[in-house]
Subunit: 261 residues, 2 copies
């Protein structure tokens, strides 16, 4: 990346660990599905959501992955919903017997759940168009907790929903991504944040000392160090994040000088 | 997959949710790193570990991803270590100022941590061979909690460690994978489990009713349903898991008949 080119980045400061340093809204993600834990399916929704939240100025602070087990889902939703401003869930809202997310969320919020007319109307219109039958199994996808707001699903119609601070979305990546796009514009993000990165063909061990000194001298900046190793080449990417461009410039200039570039 | 071809699979039964049904050892994973939560890095260690544990007969029950924050790491390690037979961590054991996993684990176990002679000897031999200096930053990688056993790292030498039921490993995928290979042979796995799968070009909504009936009639089997949608083709993979091959055969034969194959 050229000096002076700033990209939005998730803020963090090593000096103030354990809290959200920029006053940004916080978020957690709950991935639900035995198929992820068994290694059958490779989750891609976490990576997608992490990037989207960063661009929105919302700090993703924790992710949990749990199986299709009601008590486990309820406990995780309650813990994350209490600890963070937003919770995004992925998976378990389809038509089959192992899709128990909606009922588990209703249980967590101690709210009744049933087939709701607004969701049923969406599905009825969709299946009328495609010629498929809106059978009992598919009607399960219209089960929405009382008081929840529907999340638009432009890919396959069956809606997600938001209840309290929990946004409940599908696990199929194309549908999950479309639902995230439906939800995010309604949420308030934080300040735009900036970053610069520097790719060094040196091991972390050679630059750790100047990096630590730099972090101490620029307490308002976050300085991250990410080793890589690929095709016999190894090195470290340094990422400096903050809200003040000139400060990031100053830190990056000093780093480049100290590592002898 | 041909009928009669069984592959090891992670066991679960929809009839007995919330517990480990086969008496297999249980495990959790803790992924540590701001770079995962910011979307800068796409984690691949979860998917790798999930597959390896399944093959070993160890049931991965939960994954958490947290940032480089000491209190957060300590709380997650304590919670997971108390709830599961094994905990596998990934990330944060390099030489830089933001690598705080080893110290956080020591804090969680209320154990002193310092540069240990056995780990230092490994690093000294490695850097003597490569000609690089074993400086103060690199020596950080020899910080090991008292009472921990080292985990061999054939890729880049700096060891992981096991303390109590927690296995602490590097985040760089090649190193993580090598450390998993070092640890797993020492752990006791469960019974080998079997699975068959069937790929159907039908939506879940069309097969949900026969699937639910099948699950009710075969309570010893786990019947999972995984929708896919790719390049305009959509359908559902059905996976039937259990310990008895003939039972799986019977269920799969009935399913194929009922969905009209």
């Amino acid at each position: 990346m050229k000096p002076g080119l700033y990209l939005p980045a998730r803020p963090f400061k090593t000096a103030q660990q354990g809290t959200d340093t920029m006053g940004n809204p916080t978020a957690a993600m709950l991935v639900i599905g035995d198929e992820i834990l068994s290694g059958r399916t490779r989750d891609s929704n976490m990576y997608f959501l992490a990037g989207e939240l960063t661009r929105q100025g919302i700090d993703l602070k924790e992710v949990r992955v749990v199986g299709d087990e009601r008590d486990t889902i309820v406990a995780a939703v309650l813990a994350l919903s209490a600890a963070y401003d937003h919770v995004f869930t992925s998976g378990g809202i389809g038509p089959t017997h192992d899709d128990i997310t909606a009922d588990s969320i209703a249980a967590a919020f101690d709210t009744p759940i049933s087939v709701r007319d607004d969701a049923r109307a969406l599905l009825a219109a969709h299946y009328a168009k495609t010629g498929a039958e809106l059978n009992e199994a598919r009607l399960r996808m219209a089960r929405i907790p009382d008081g929840a707001a529907l999340i638009d699903n432009p890919v396959s119609t069956a809606p997600g929903f938001t209840i309290g601070n929990v946004h409940v979305m599908a696990g199929v990546p194309t549908v999950f991504e479309a639902m995230v796009a439906s939800v995010l514009p309604h949420l308030t993000g934080g300040a735009p944040l900036l970053s610069q990165s520097l790719r060094l063909l040196r091991g972390e061990g050679e630059i750790a000392t100047p990096l630590a000194a730099l972090a101490a001298d620029f307490p308002d900046l976050s300085i991250g160090s990410y080793p890589f190793q690929k095709d016999g080449v190894y090195g470290t990417n340094i990422v400096i994040r903050g809200t003040e461009g000139p400060q990031i410039d100053a830190a990056m200039t000093r780093l480049a000088r100290e590592v002898g570039l």
